[in-house]
């Protein structure tokens, strides 16, 4: 029987690409906020027993109960988890408010912590979880104007990843993927500026990437090909953060 993989943020962008690619070999639990968009993604997936989990991850208080009920109601065990849900707001620090900071951390960090807790529970998920991949960002290791809260959230996610890799070993492997800028619904407003996009393209030694480039990394990290890899950050950014030539 094909194992179940939970993919948060599966209705668009990187999460959608991951869902479609993984559906060749896994049953997908498509998570998102919008039922109809999730159904559209399900139709694009390869044939399988794919299920939709509709949940607003910004509401963190009931994530554990909601996910536990979902697992029970569907009578499934989840063996793999990919956290692709995330929000990014380009905002200078002086324009940040506690609500905007909290929203980013709820979705990018706290929900990942609570889902990991639920899925690694023997009681709630039968001790079946084998591997986790968090979709982080290459900005987790760098800096940029107006990205401070987003960068901090991805840095927190990566720190959480490393400690969980140790806490959950040897049964569960935990890794992160750090993408560079990818054109998605979340980032389209940045790419609309033609000058910015042209500059970006020249900053990427391998050119601009697409969601499939990230999905390929997820396939690898979840697979047995990566069975001795845990606690690692895999940067997939076309060489962007390696280049110091000018």
């Amino acid at each position: 029987m094909r194992p179940y993989v939970l993919i948060t943020g599966a209705s668009s962008g990187i999460g959608k690409a991951i869902a479609i690619k993984l559906s060749q070999n896994y049953n997908i639990i498509l998570h998102g906020r919008n039922q109809s968009r999730l159904q559209q993604v399900r139709e694009l997936c390869f044939e399988g027993d794919h299920i939709i989990w509709e949940k607003e991850l910004g509401e963190v208080d009931n994530i554990e109960d909601n996910l536990a009920s979902f697992i029970k109601a569907n009578n499934i065990m989840i063996e793999y988890y990919v956290h692709s849900a995330g929000i990014m707001k380009m905002l200078p620090l002086k324009a940040q408010k506690i609500e905007s900071i909290q929203e980013v951390f709820n979705i990018n960090v706290y929900s990942a912590m609570l889902i990991t807790k639920t899925l690694s529970s023997k009681k709630l998920n039968g001790g079946m979880l084998k591997s986790i991949v968090f979709i982080s960002s290459n900005i987790s290791q760098r800096g940029a104007k107006a990205f401070q809260v987003y960068a901090a959230s991805k840095g927190a996610l990566d720190s959480f990843m490393r400690s969980m890799a140790i806490e959950l070993a040897p049964k569960i492997r935990v890794n992160s993927i750090l993408p560079g800028a990818i054109y998605t619904d979340m980032t389209h407003h940045i790419f609309e500026d033609i000058n910015f996009t042209t500059k970006m393209a020249t900053n990427y030694p391998l050119g601009l990437g697409n969601p499939d480039n990230i999905a390929d990394g997820v396939v690898f990290l979840l697979s047995d090909q990566a069975k001795w890899i845990t606690g690692q950050q895999l940067v997939i950014d076309g060489g962007r953060t390696t280049d110091i030539s000018e």
């Binding site: 707001k89 380009m90 905002l91 200078p92 002086k94 324009a95 104007k145 107006a146």
Partner: protein
Amino acid sequence: MEEYFKQMAELLEVDSVNTNDELNSFEAWDSLTILSIIAFVNDSYAVTLNANEIKEARTIGGLKKVIDSKKK
């Protein structure tokens, strides 16, 4: 209007602002402040502005007029 002045003063990093104040006369006037104004206007008035519209509004009062004209 009072809340608008208060928020603009905060983003421009001064105690208070007036209708006729030129936007580019503030010491804090830069691309990050423009980005902050775009976010503030979007959140508070559900109006989407671009950087050029803000620059062309010239003054604190002029910007408010642009916002009001774009409100649905």
